[in-house]
Symmetry: C2
């Protein structure tokens, strides 16, 4: 779900990995989605088209409208499915640098999605890297890491498998625990923005180094 | 300034590096500070004692009372000096996990200190690692990083020299830019807390890995 750079990049990466992918958008005739489908051999359709036929849903819509998009997809089409949420709820209403929106009582977008669709199994991941790194972790050298947060262990296994399909090794994947751990992960985009300016590149990631 | 674990650890590290260190506290007869001075050959005294005699001030007080402590130190004792701010403004008033306090208009503690004491040269650093790693970066393997944020280039050079005295190599130090870059750096403690729980250790740090 989501026809922006992140959505298209992930959809292409998942097609290359052998998955059947429907790129979901607000309307059935979205030009970007149609062009993507023609290029890749993937499918495209409305959020509801994409979600109803899917075993797994990736939310790559803009974070501020994700719940609206998932509502359009249909709660019944999310039930008992893994929803991999990669969205960054960036709020540019006060200019740059943006704020990361939080939701009721300061919760993360991922938790907000989980509360809104309690029958879905939400896993937060991938929002800490640029879309090029998401689908090609090998472009950054070293044992850099990607994080998963979620309340359902099986859903995190499925999401980790999807990360594996994109090239992330199991050593690179760090399970942070329950979905509330998505809060600092979503806020991390602000450090990512500062680092990208300091380094002059989007082609980076962080690696967690431990003693012993 | 600050007789907690971080303050004592940094003070000891700086004594070992050959610096003359006065451990500053609210009162002249602080027992922890006196014990530290007896152990290390350092000095101790009030915040004002410490600041008035110092070439450089390290703020290792609890972030929520740092401005109060620096006010007790005396604005005249901070003027034209480098103030290395390592404090984390953690707010546990709503329980765990804590919030990271922000100040007027959402600015960081470091910026709040800078605005309150405009004649000081504030540099934010070190707040992204445990106190043991602060003074002994070699305990974590690999080329992990430490960040400096500040509006004054010369002050950042001085602060980077101090980091060097503690064992950080110049390759490990990343200059993020102006003091507003301290905002995501201060928020990073929330990711640090989540990581420390997932890893089961405080002995870790992040490394920034770049392509090319």
């Amino acid at each position: 779900m989501g026809t922006g750079e992140v959505g298209q990049s992930l959809a292409t990466g998942l097609v290359k990995a052998g998955h059947t992918v429907t790129l979901g958008s607000r309307t059935a005739d979205n030009a970007a989605a149609a062009a993507w489908a023609a290029d890749t051999g993937g499918r495209h359709g409305t959020f509801a088209d994409a979600a109803s036929s899917a075993e797994l849903i990736v939310n790559a819509t803009s974070g501020l409208v994700s719940v609206e998009a998932l509502t359009a997809a249909g709660a019944e089409n999310l039930a008992d499915k893994v929803v991999v949420d990669v969205a960054n709820p960036l709020d540019f209403s006060d200019g740059y640098p943006p704020k990361v929106a939080t939701f009721e009582e300061g919760i993360s977008l991922a938790e907000h999605i989980q509360r809104t669709f309690p029958d879905a199994h939400v896993v937060k991941t991938l929002c800490t890297v640029n879309n090029a790194v998401m689908v090609d972790p090998g472009r950054v050298p070293g044992d850099h890491n990607i994080f998963v947060s979620g309340d359902d262990r099986d859903a995190k296994k499925v999401a980790s498998g999807l990360l594996g399909d994109l090239g992330w090794t199991s050593d690179q994947i760090i399970d942070l625990g329950g979905l509330p751990t998505a809060r600092p992960i979503e806020q991390n985009i602000l450090l990512w923005l500062v680092l990208s300016q300091a380094l002059g590149t989007y082609d980076f990631n962080i690696s967690v180094q431990r003693a012993g």
